[in-house]
């Protein structure tokens, strides 16, 4: 079955946001296609309820993105034109030569040299960017308290992304019954029903959606000394993005290095500005075709326009986007964020008498490697000279 919804009320710049969000409209959706010329979105599905419910939901989303839309503030802070000598389908090449194993869309196993490049790039982000500050390293769990996510407003801003974590109830009958049912079924059957309420408690934890939340949780109820502090950490992050995981770089499970600034407003703002300059130097040194521009988060709420407009007008978020030549598009590989006192208030982090303000710089490690390889390919001889030298020096020292 398929249904077609008009996009007449939407600016073309919003089509992508709608397509992304429409994936979450109904679990029976099989395919979503935007026809820019006809200004329609076509939804192919197998819903037992027919077209009506899906049409209504997609229209509701279209209304969300069109509400008060007059165009967003846009600004490019810097652009770096790289030579992009490679223009092949890097994903196909990585899969063909078994460097990358696709477990399912957005979930991969990486082998050499991809896995080495991930460690190398992270090493360079720490040495070239994080260590330019008086930085302290922290180590975080891969899971986070639901109570902590609640404080960050994650449940209300990005509810569709959350990967909840639970376990069988501490109940011998439930545990043995579950085990027996698996044996009887001949193993785990994904389609077989499982009564979650009976067998599992309400989740206390979720998979970490972002690295910096743990930093704020760790500073809860503390008063910082001096102007503030700079922390760096890398952690595995998880975001459920439905069928959007088939898009280049949209991973279910990924590694995010962050440099986090917590302290007085001037301390955070000055460090944030400095980090932008360091990011620019890195993009130039590695000769990656890229640009840093104002961005907004994909808030999954009815007040999307207000939140996104505010975020852009206040320049709270910049994204460093790297070009993917064979797709003629770009993906965000790093972001530079300012949160004002949101997390300082939420976690009661003080500097002097005031709530601390926070900011952070994020590096999506896999995305950086994907984007670099999509511009330069796997042949090291084609890589930029400085990058090749740094990588060789790092390989000599690494295990």
């Amino acid at each position: 079955m398929e249904c077609i919804v008009s996009l007449g009320q939407l600016a073309p710049s919003q089509y992508g946001q709608l397509k992304y969000a429409a994936a979450f409209a109904d679990e029976h959706i099989d395919e979503i296609v935007i026809d820019e010329e006809a200004q329609t979105i076509r939804i192919v599905h197998h819903s037992p309820d027919g077209n009506a419910k899906i049409e209504e939901r997609v229209q509701r989303l279209a209304e969300r993105f069109s509400k008060g839309d007059f165009g967003f503030k846009e600004q490019v802070l810097f652009e770096n034109a790289g030579p992009k000598p490679y223009s092949g389908d890097i994903i196909a090449e990585l899969v063909d030569n078994k460097t990358m194993k696709v477990l399912e869309p957005g979930l991969f196993i990486f082998r050499e040299p991809f896995s080495s490049l991930m460690r190398f790039m992270d090493y360079m982000f720490v040495n070239k960017v994080a260590r330019a500050f008086d930085v302290k390293e922290e180590s975080y769990p891969a899971v986070i308290h639901c109570d902590t996510l609640n404080k960050t407003n994650h449940f209300t801003s990005f509810p569709e992304h959350i990967h909840f974590l639970t376990h069988l109830r501490e109940d011998l009958d439930v545990i043995e019954g579950f085990s027996q049912s698996i044996r009887e079924a001949g193993g785990w059957q994904q389609e077989a029903p499982l009564s979650l309420d009976e067998t599992m408690p309400k989740p206390k934890f979720a998979m970490n959606p972002s690295t910096c939340y743990h930093c704020y949780e760790g500073l809860q109820d503390e008063t910082l000394e001096g102007d503030g502090l700079v922390v760096t950490a890398i952690s595995k992050c998880h975001r459920f993005e439905s069928r959007n995981h088939t898009d280049f770089g949209r991973m279910l499970d990924f590694s995010m290095r962050e440099i986090i600034f917590v302290g007085k407003p001037d301390f955070v703002k000055e460090n944030r500005l400095k980090s932008i300059e360091l990011l620019k130097q890195l993009a130039e040194e590695w000769e990656v075709d890229s640009r840093l521009e104002i961005a907004n988060d994909p808030f999954f709420t009815n007040d999307f326009q207000v939140k996104a407009s505010f975020q852009r007008n206040q320049e709270m978020k910049y994204e460093l986007r790297l070009t993917i030549p064979y797709l003629d598009k770009s993906i965000a590989c790093s972001s530079v964020n300012f949160h004002s006192n949101t997390f300082g208030n939420a976690f009661n982090i003080k500097v002097g008498k005031r709530s601390a303000v926070t900011g952070c710089v994020g590096f999506g490690i896999e995305r950086w490697v994907f984007a670099f390889l999509s511009q330069y390919g796997l042949d090291e001889a084609a890589w930029p000279e400085r990058f090749r030298e740094q990588y060789a020096a790092w390989l000599d020292k690494s295990i």
């Binding site: 008060g68 839309d69 007059f70 503030k73 407003n153 407003p265 703002k269 007040d303 326009q305 207000v306 939140k307 407009s309 505010f310 975020q311 007008n313 206040q314 709270m316 300012f338 949160h339 004002s340 006192n341 949101t342 300082g344 208030n345 008498k353 005031r354 709530s355 601390a356 303000v357």
Partner: protein
């Protein structure tokens, strides 16, 4: 404008629990950059302005007018009321 600025300052001090001794808080301080109001607080402040002064703050207003300080917001309110 002075009266509106005075009312706004009092509202922001009370609503966002600004310490009376905080000498960084002035009518010209950038409320967001200096951590007096966050994005949720800004949404609440807009609702307060709409209700108190009987004006509508559109997304376009947010983009066209500088609305970062008490004085800028007071000037904006006066302009909208006059318009």
């Amino acid at each position: 404008m002075e009266a509106i600025a005075q009312q706004l300052e009092e509202h922001i001090r009370a609503q966002y629990e600004i310490d009376p001794d905080d000498d960084e808080f002035t009518r010209d301080v950038h409320l967001f950059d200096y951590g007096f109001i966050d994005s949720l607080g800004a949404t609440a402040l807009i609702a307060h302005i709409e209700k108190t002064y009987g004006i509508q703050v559109t997304n376009q207003d947010l983009m066209l007018y500088p609305l970062n300080t008490v004085n800028e917001i007071a000037t904006f309110i006066e302009t909208k009321k006059a318009g």
